[in-house]
Amino acid sequence: MAHGDHLDEMTCLLYAERQLDRARAQAVSAHTENCAECRTLLRALDRESRLLTRAMLEEDEPLPSRIAEFQERARKSFGWIWGVVFGLAATGVYALYTIVVEPAQLRLEQAGFGGTSLLSLLVFQGAFWKGWQSVITLLEVLAMLTVAGFGVAVFRRRLRRGSALALVLAGLCAAMALPTTAGAMEFHKTQGTYELLKDETVKNDLLVTCSRARIDGTVEGDLYLFAQSADISGHIKGDVILFVQSARVTGQVDGNIRAATNNLTITGTVARNVLSLNEVLNLDSAGKVDGSLTSTGESVGIDGKVGRDLMVFGDHTTISGAVGGGVRVKGNNLSIVSTAEVAGPIHYEGENPATVSSGAKLASPVEYTKRVPKSEYTQGHYYLWRVIWTAAFVLLGMVLILLLPKFAEEAVRAGERVGAPLGLGLLVVPAVPIACLIACITVVGIPLGVLTFGLWFLGLFTAEIVVGAVVGNWILGRAADTWGLIGRMAMGFVLVRIAYTPLEHVHVIGFLVGLGILMWGMGAMSLAVYNRLQPKVAMVGAVQPA
């Protein structure tokens, strides 16, 4: 340690920089008390240190413009990415709106659906989930989530995540609730027969779940029926919503009829419009619909009068009554018998030409378009739509991951286990809607049932996104941050889509693969929720009260 009678410079430096152990530091301290030369050396080293620090910290030259501009460039670059993402989404949404939504909306309005609230759309048209209807609902869900995510991103800096989430949920609830017609509802639930007698009047809306319903009296609001069979011979001043196996309407309905049934027969009068998903629909010769009639089903018979347009998507359509507006039919067969009267144009698209009786009174000849079965793969727009939908789902995934980064990470991590989420998915996919239905039937549980069903419904859309993220993680390794997860999700989702598309139309395999993806994703999310609900015993034990 000593250099002659003095400390060496290394020792002095380590002492000055407090790097010596206690004993050596004490020895140096004791030596310097009596040695002026070593004290001078220590002072010189200390001054040298301070000179070095000062020289390095001094801002002797201005910051280069490249450095100053770098942040701005980075910000602009970030904006460019967002611009592309939202531009892509906007293009997809615009294309969907102009090609699908707008025409569909027009037809819906013609069918009397102009003022339908989101709640009734989700709840009461849920059973109508097929064909082009699904596009509207999916678009609404996507658009709603995108807008909600954008809103949260805007307010995120001012709100905590929990508050933002609460705001979004409150907004969704408000969106669901606001357009709903004000007024009380009367509930009746029975295992057997429900009967509203002829001289009885229900002042409010009426909701009935039963085995058999007979409505001979008057309902001043809307009538909602869940039953095996129903006979409506009374006077319904509002709309009639039917989820009934076999229904017969012989009375008067001042509003619309919207029905999901096996058999629907109308022999009474409907002041507005009818929309029906059914196997068999009969507008009896005594039946009259003042508005338009829209139906999908195997067999549709129009013997009575339709005041406005008739629109049918069905196998066999027979018109023997009167139609005040135009007729648009898509199906396999159209028969127009001699007693028929049609005031507007008739458009028919089908595999077989229409059979038109010579006695039929038509404003114009049937405009027939032969439908040639064609593989979707040969059509260019099929691939365009696949790209648009993929972009829309990636955007949805991005929004959800940004909204719930922790949960997304947990769900993807749970998905990596494959076996457990698949097993849980097998349980959750069929069981949750049944549980929701049971909750709704108990009436008191309707809010819980609807909310759970909504989450389950959302889960159906996001399952493939979760699987995509898992695949992305497998390929690129587990993501270290949110944007890494988003990138992996996008890549994985595209790969899953590419792999799944050729299988989609191979009936059994396509169905099984699709179901597998659905269950895997749903199971992963359910597992993440389950893990979150588990009490954290270790943490509780470790934290002592202050």
Partner: protein, 195 residues
Amino acid sequence: MSVPGSTETTEAVARARAGDAESWGQIYREMGPAIFRFCRRALPTREDAEDATMEIFSKLWEGKLSQYDETRSFSAWLYRVAANHCWDILRRRKIRQDKETDDVENVPLEHPDPSQLDRMIEQKTSEEVRHALQKLGARARMALVLRYYSDMSYDEIADALGVRRAFVGVVLLRARHELRQALEGKSALAAGGTS
């Protein structure tokens, strides 16, 4: 003496990691100039320092930020990233010489004349020191920058330079000797870049 970039940036870092561009900008505004000056002291030319600064922040943006342990000082971690980056640049250019590592253990421990050293230090200005720093070998300069600009501990310096902790003092002392020689107008002992 204040250490550049020591301001608490933990919240901004957390937000930036979640993808918040504004927080990213805040981190850059706060730490960008300090990291540039670090690179300016550690690398031979101003252009190198500019390139290195942008590369370091690009790395952070592209995912490096996710490796930051929030329980520790962000500025210390960032200096460590910058040191590694600059050290890599020097190594790629063969400026960092393996020979220097071998010399570490054999450095002569001279005992300078304390009064003469004290006078010399007193006479020198910051500008002269900065000028002299540019004449030092890469590792000598890097060691001084890590210790007296970034305020790194001996452990952190050992880790950054890839030497044993016990020799950090020797590296620093040798760097001081080089600096003194440069200040006195003598040629630097080790090879190094010039600005």
